[in-house]
Amino acid sequence: MRDNGKGGALTEVTFYILLSLYTPRHGYAIMQFIEEKTAGRLSLGAGTLYGALNALQKKGWIAFHGDNEGRKKEYLITKAGKEIAKKELLRLQELIQVATEIIGEG
């Protein structure tokens, strides 16, 4: 999984998962969040979501939320994850600024 820890860009999937986890969500709710926010443009496969969640957990950007006694596991973004997301926002703002200068307002 590519990350912007060293200054690189996040993938869209990674960034959306991080954004969805500013509130605790389980797998299905993450999928729904992303589909809703992108009006169906980005639809995540279960295997892809599973791989991404595991990778993000290993990086320490997200973690399980609560005791997980219930059947459905919930995830939440960590402090480190929020820092990464903030950096990505700045990177995208820069990109948008450059693109707007050249292309003009959409």
């Binding site: 590519r2 993938t11 869209e12 999937v13 797998g27 496969g45 279960a46 892809t48 459905k72």
Partner: protein, 195 residues
């Protein structure tokens, strides 16, 4: 009323997947799998959709975790064997599995190399792997499994100087080439887009 079929698809994952989806379109839903057995029950035509995933390279814990995840999403999961083997208590070393190979036993993923995933049709597309990065990883796991068979056949063919292994090796080359060309295609697309 339930319907039973006895079929064997070996490594022909997409053929098996297409058949299950054809059955679902006709109004039959999978309720049980055995070595050769597929048992169906009647349902509304097109109510369910199926995808098949190869999981032979995963550890037992990872498979359980993945299945739980899929079930949490509302999918139903069946295990299926990829090949036929009637021995009990056999060990299999899988050099193509993650982390430098794994030993498969009857209690791990031996005889449960495939997952059949069932989703209730909600009008949306049903794909398990959507990003290029993830598709690439999945395709590689399949190619490596076949590649390993190829090497085994090649070694046996050289040692025993038998044409049978040679033919086996040639047959195994077909899926290797198919998956490899898929990998090349995905890599090419991934240069420009993420999914």
């Amino acid at each position: 009323m339930s319907k039973k079929y006895h079929r064997f698809y070996d490594g022909l994952l997409s053929v098996q997947e297409n058949w299950l989806n054809k059955m679902a379109k006709k109004g039959y839903r999978l309720v049980r799998t055995g070595k050769l057995l597929y048992e169906f029950e009647e349902c509304a035509p097109g109510q369910f959709e199926y995808r098949i995933e190869f999981i032979g390279h995963k550890s037992k814990e990872d498979v359980i975790d993945y299945c739980n995840f899929l079930e949490d999403l509302g999918y139903k999961v069946f295990f299926k064997n990829i090949n036929l083997n009637y021995s009990i208590g056999k060990l299999r070393y899988r050099p193509w599995a993650e982390k430098g190979g794994r030993i498969a036993t009857n209690s791990t993923t031996f005889d449960r190399e495939l997952l059949i995933v069932e989703k209730k049709n909600d009008g949306k597309e049903f794909e398990l792997h959507t990003s290029y990065e993830d598709k690439l990883k999945y395709c590689k796991s399949l190619r490596n499994a076949w590649l390993c068979f190829f090497l085994l056949f090649a070694i046996l063919g050289c040692v025993q100087r038998s044409i049978v292994w040679g033919i086996g090796g040639l047959l195994v080359l077909i899926p290797i080439i198919a998956y490899q060309s898929e990998i090349i295609k995905i890599r090419h697309n991934a240069k420009i887009r993420e999914w």
